[in-house]
Amino acid sequence: MGTLGERTAVLGVGQTKYQSTRGDVSIAGLVREAALRALEDAACTWADVDAVVIGKAPDFFEGLMMPELFLADALGCVGKPILRVHTAGSVGGSTALVAASLIQGRIHRRVLTIGFEKQSESNATWALSLPQPFSVSINAGAGGYFSPIIRRYMARSGAPELIGCMVAFKDRQHALRNPYAHLQQPDLTFDQVVEAPMLWDPIRFSETCPSSDGACAMVLGDEEAGDAAEGPVAWVHGTAMRSEANNFPGRDEVSPQASRDCAAEVFAKAGITDPRSEIDVAEMYVPFSWYEPMWLESLGFAERDHGWRMVEDGSTNLDGGDLPVNCSGGVLSSNPIGASGMIRFAEAALQVRGMAGGHQVEGARRAFGHAYGGGAQYFAMWVVGADKP
């Protein structure tokens, strides 16, 4: 392994059922549910946890400022350290990486990390539309921001119009095999995906992510803890984070350099030279369908302008694909924003532990977890494997 520091293992994963409204629990109850499941999976108790790293998207989404303060008790944190990460949409991934750094830097032996969002507590549209004194809002939302970039990709790559619909249909089919996934649409047909209303041309309603309540947690441990685990663990083979400025002349918004640099670093650390053949399964942050082929290219799984062909020929399908993408249903099927990145990282870990249940990729040994945020500016990635690096 190219990276220095302590070897790090994912000892346990815990998720809540993602749904529009978890009215039966408070914010504290929601995060505790995921945390307890992760502890149980890791065969740990609260006493085994040295520190907690929590992440979520803007505090306005719940109307609770710096929620780690309120959640310290629910997360068994009294007398322990807690850090709160916020790196826009990539936050779930970044949070996991900060937690991993506490192990890699040999500060702690076991760290609980958790991402959450309880969007039903507030109003995300309000939270994202507050007037600003020095700027004019175009009030376009995330879809309005990304649709021109998708158009650019379509023009550049010559991708057929319905590639996005194919991604959306595939991920919703995958979601049927994941009991935690928010959208469960067993009767959905491809034609219905295509005929859905156009929201931000070329993004249809069916090609966007839902708005979910949910939390995802992981227990990370050092080499000794990983070795001592009775069940399978996922070993961290590489981690990387990158950010770039939002707006400057010449910026490649379709495939930002921060994305390419981050992928290059994480694969180098994991000793991977050909991601397409060496990665068995990928969980990528795809909130709008077209981002699957775009990221496949940017990350090096496909040649430039050829990512859409992998979608078209079924390469990213759980059934029969050589690089199944988002077997959990992805962000397109569940989107508790602050947790969405961590779900990608956790699902990658579940795959190499052989614990992904109905959406398990047979024999997965190495998996890739990915998250992005801001105006496609913030990137967090990891590679996990069944074997110790």
Partner: protein, 360 residues
């Protein structure tokens, strides 16, 4: 532990930055901190910042502030929705791994556009406490009242803390409340604003920011004549509920100080100077007792808040990082061989970070 030091810093705190964006605030500060050690962003291995969307009044507000760094080519970067002292902690952890040798840390806050004391009410339990909108001054006053009732301190002693801060702040360009000749009687003559606290008992609300450069080992020695080495750093949190804690104590501050001391090899009461992040004189007293500063039998006199501390200028989200910068400057200037910097978060000192610094 890998040796990591503060090698430069830049601070700017004023009463109100009315016509300044966060980017305009941070560009000169980040440049000043990098220029002081001759580094450009390309030389920085890791960047970490702290800020609050609730102050900016905008979700994802830190995304725009990234423009102040010059993040292209892309950088390895992270952000905490916490005081910059915690961003510094994350950067220190990153430096421990050994992948990178330098880090840039910055944080900033502009609370003047709103009513800070009311904004902070939304930090409280959102179901049972926040709906009552207890403002931050009233919450701090509850703590001070309990402290007085417990006979741990007198009103005059709290006034003396206010006097100490104002006198020490003289000559600090980043202090808002400074006076060379203020007396306890002057302070006690002031009106009570949140019984038992007077305006001078409450920290002076500031807008501002801070940038710090960290470097490891010989890299630090090559950048700076006298690096301020981080000998120990730790942070802990207490329970959230105001009713389940003894507000006259700060167990997480004591615990963090003890853990930092284990790494440092010297205790908090062995430092020459200490910079405290307190929202009130009462909190400054609670912290000094919790961390054993002054009068625990060591015979060592700790100079508390040589800059005036956060009582003299309290920039939300940056005050803790400013404490580390001020303490590090004391070490780098040769004014201190050992220094303590403290940062806190949450109501009534719920969360506390302690950083022990030392010269070569």
């Amino acid at each position: 532990m890998r040796e990591v030091a503060v090698v430069s810093s830049a601070i700017h705190q004023v009463e109100a930055l009315t016509f300044t964006t966060d980017v305009q605030l941070m560009v000169p500060l980040i440049n000043e901190a990098r220029d002081a050690v001759g580094l450009t962003q390309a030389d920085i291995g890791f960047t970490c910042s702290g800020s609050s969307d609730f102050l900016a009044g905008q979700g994802f507000s830190f995304v725009q502030t990234l423009d102040a760094v010059g993040a292209f080519p892309p950088i390895a970067e992270s952000h905490v929705e916490m005081d910059g002292a915690f961003a510094l902690y994350e950067a220190w952890v990153k430096l421990q791994i050994g992948e990178v040798d330098t880090a840039l840390v910055y944080s900033y806050g502009k609370s003047s556009p709103g009513s800070r004391r009311d904004v902070l009410a939304v930090q409280l339990d959102p179901y049972t406490v926040a709906p009552l909108w207890p403002d931050a001054h009233s919450v701090a006053a509850l703590q001070a009242r309990l402290l007085l009732e417990s006979s741990a301190v007198t009103v005059e002693e709290l006034a003396a803390i206010a006097v100490r801060s104002q006198r020490n702040a003289v000559g600090n360009p980043n202090a808002l409340r400074a006076s060379a000749d203020v007396t306890v009687d002057d302070v006690l003559a002031g009106a009570v604003v949140a019984d038992p606290l007077r305006a001078t008992d409450l920290s002076a609300e500031a807008d501002g920011g801070c940038a710090v450069v960290l470097a490891a080992g010989d890299r630090a020695r090559s950048l700076c004549e006298r690096p301020a080495w981080i000998r120990g750093i730790d942070h802990r949190i207490d329970a959230h509920g105001l009713g389940v804690r003894d507000l006259t104590l700060a167990p997480s501050a004591a615990l963090a100080a003890g853990k930092a001391a284990e790494r440092a090899g010297f205790a908090a009461d062995a430092v020459d100077v200490a910079e405290l992040h307190a929202a009130s004189t009462a909190q400054a007293h609670v912290l000094a007792v919790a961390m054993g500063l002054g009068g625990t039998g060591s015979g060592n006199e700790v100079r508390i808040d040589p800059s005036g501390g956060s009582l003299a200028a309290d920039t939300l989200m940056a005050a803790g990082l400013v404490r580390i910068a001020e303490a590090a400057r004391c070490v780098s200037r040769g004014d201190a061989d050992r220094a303590l910097a403290h940062a806190s978060s949450g109501p009534c000192l719920q969360q506390n970070l302690v950083c022990l610094l030392g010269g070569e």
